[in-house]
Amino acid sequence: MTTQTIIPSAGAAEAVPAPAVPAARGQRRGKLEDLARLWGMRAVLIVALLASWQFCSGRVFPVFIVSSPELVWERFLDFMHGGKLLGHLFYTMRSCLLGFGIGAVVGSTLGLAFGIFEPVARTIRPFAAMLYSTPKIMLAPLIVVWFGVDTTMKVVISAFSCMWVIFYNVWNATLGIDRNLVDQFRLMGGSQRQIITGLYLPSATTWLLTSLKVAFPIALIGSVVGEFVASNKGLGFLALDSGHRFDTAGVLVAVFTITLTAMTVDSLLTALQRKVALWQGEGERK
């Protein structure tokens, strides 16, 4: 007589990772307290730095060289009057965002193409490396000759500066795609277009977002360099013009404005990255 062993079905007893559950109220309060403590410490640090700066200004270092928080604040209010600062910020951001957008599209398209069409990549690789290694700022005079001194020139410098980091990241991401996945797509009836849109593009998304975070400050540098080269508008111009007039506070207002803008965009990109990368384990289910 044969005794039959009953084995529970695969779905019944299989260990399953616990689904994400909302944090308990106590845990949430603990997290909030941690966050408040962290920001409190940061605020104390900022106040301490500003106080030291204010104290040293005129006592340890000449005001002419280091300015002071008070003077910077006054200059900020002065620049804000009549929308002067916002006008410069808008001008810089316009060329920066245009350059960043173009750089992102061109860089990711080229990265994708290089990853998909390997013979093309093998042929062009040394030329790409050569262009990547070239200090982009050195090309600025040439770009002025080609595109003039208006916004187009700043957009081109910005795009050309930032596209490389996006290009290399997307290229690497595309090269890293498992061949088995590509074969699976083909076996499931996927066309080349479906493989690109349904596999290559989503696979490269995380790398693309990471590279965008790195690329944005580079695009901003590109715009400012363009304004240094030839401009009568923008935060780069404002910093340069203030420097020429030995207005240290004016230079610092321009610098702080551009830094805060870069930080804001970085935060937005981080939030986007978290949202998109939910499936990667970086995000959290709400």
Binding site: T2, T3, Q4, T5, I6, I7, P8, S9, A10, G11, A13, E14, A15, V16, P17, P19, A20, D178, N180, L181, D183, Q184, F185, R186, L187, M188, G189, G190, S191, Q194, G198, L199, P202, T205, L278, W279, Q280, G281
Partner: protein
């Protein structure tokens, strides 16, 4: 047992290798991966393939799917030679090929989406398949939120949702622990029972091969050849793997296959260079040629 058509004549095998040799493109210098392959898979059969690493087991699956073509000899899928990928083939690999950005439902529905099935229909079919593979409660979970066994069931669901004619499985349970592997073997048998499906299942595990298969193909190499095709007609069917192992016939098959496999292993467990290739490509010594 070979399938027969309604007229009583033997039906065309779903897959048929005739003295086939396969060399990977660009690897002509290293020589063929498999030689002298003669194998036929009757409709509805479940064939398992065992053999040491590097003996060309996966190569057979690649040829069956159409990803790779034979370089000599003949290969027919459903009685025809194909220049492109073979239609109606489902392929489950050991390496997980789920899309991490798609949910269980999205992954299972993927092949339907790629072949242009309307949204409402593919949702309905994918949901039904998810229920079928025991994942009805996990439709909106991402692969990272599932266990290894559940992910393999999503892969199986994604493969079966298109109702393939031929199911290719390349060590699908290789990464699972022993208990889960046995459960998945049971689950696979239950899931495909009643489906008009021909299965070619590659494994390193002799027990798995004997538990699941109607016939076991033992390979040797390299280059890979078929050393033996062992039909398991005398094995009692419908038993749980644990009970099957206690059957005396099981022990006989296991011993016989083990002798074939162990005789072709090097000290490091890899495939020995084929002993009989010196005088050209050998034909395998087929003890049984079911369906050929």
């Amino acid at each position: 047992m070979p399938a027969t058509s309604s007229q009583g004549v033997p039906a065309t095998p779903v897959v048929e290798f005739k003295n086939a040799e396969v060399t990977y493109p660009g690897r002509q210098v290293t020589g063929p991966a498999v030689v002298g392959i003669n194998l036929a898979l009757a409709r509805g059969s479940f064939t398992t393939v065992v053999g040491p690493s590097g003996c060309g087991k996966s190569t057979l699956l690649h040829v069956c799917s159409g990803l790779l073509k034979v370089s000599a000899g003949e290969f027919h899928y459903q009685g025809q030679s194909w220049k492109k990928l073979h239609p109606g083939v489902g392929y489950v690999t050991q390496r997980e090929t789920l899309l991490p950005w798609k949910t269980v439902l999205g992954n299972i529905a993927l092949p339907l989406k790629l072949t242009g099935v309307p949204k409402a229909e593919r949702r309905e079919r994918a949901t039904a398949m998810a229920e079928n593979v025991g994942l009805g409660q996990w439709l909106n979970r991402f692969p990272r939120e599932l266990s290894g066994g559940m992910r393999q069931r999503v892969q199986l669901g994604r493969t079966l949702v298109t109702k393939p004619v031929l199911l290719l499985m390349d060590e699908p349970f290789g990464a699972l622990d022993a208990v889960l592997r046995v459960r998945m073997q049971e689950f696979l048998k239950e899931t495909i029972a009643g489906a008009d499906l021909t299965t070619l299942f590659v494994t390193h595990d002799l027990n798995e091969a004997l538990t699941l298969g109607d016939q076991v193909v033992a390979m040797a190499g390299a280059p890979g050849t078929i050393d033996q095709i062992d039909t398991l007609d005398d094995l009692p069917r419908g038993l749980a793997p644990v009970d099957l192992k206690s059957a005396p016939e099981y022990a006989e098959h296991e011993a016989r296959l083990w002798k074939v496999i162990a005789g072709n292993l090097s000290d490091d467990g890899k495939a020995l260079a084929n002993r009989s290739t010196a005088g050209g490509h050998p034909l395998p010594s087929l003890t049984t040629t079911t369906g050929v």
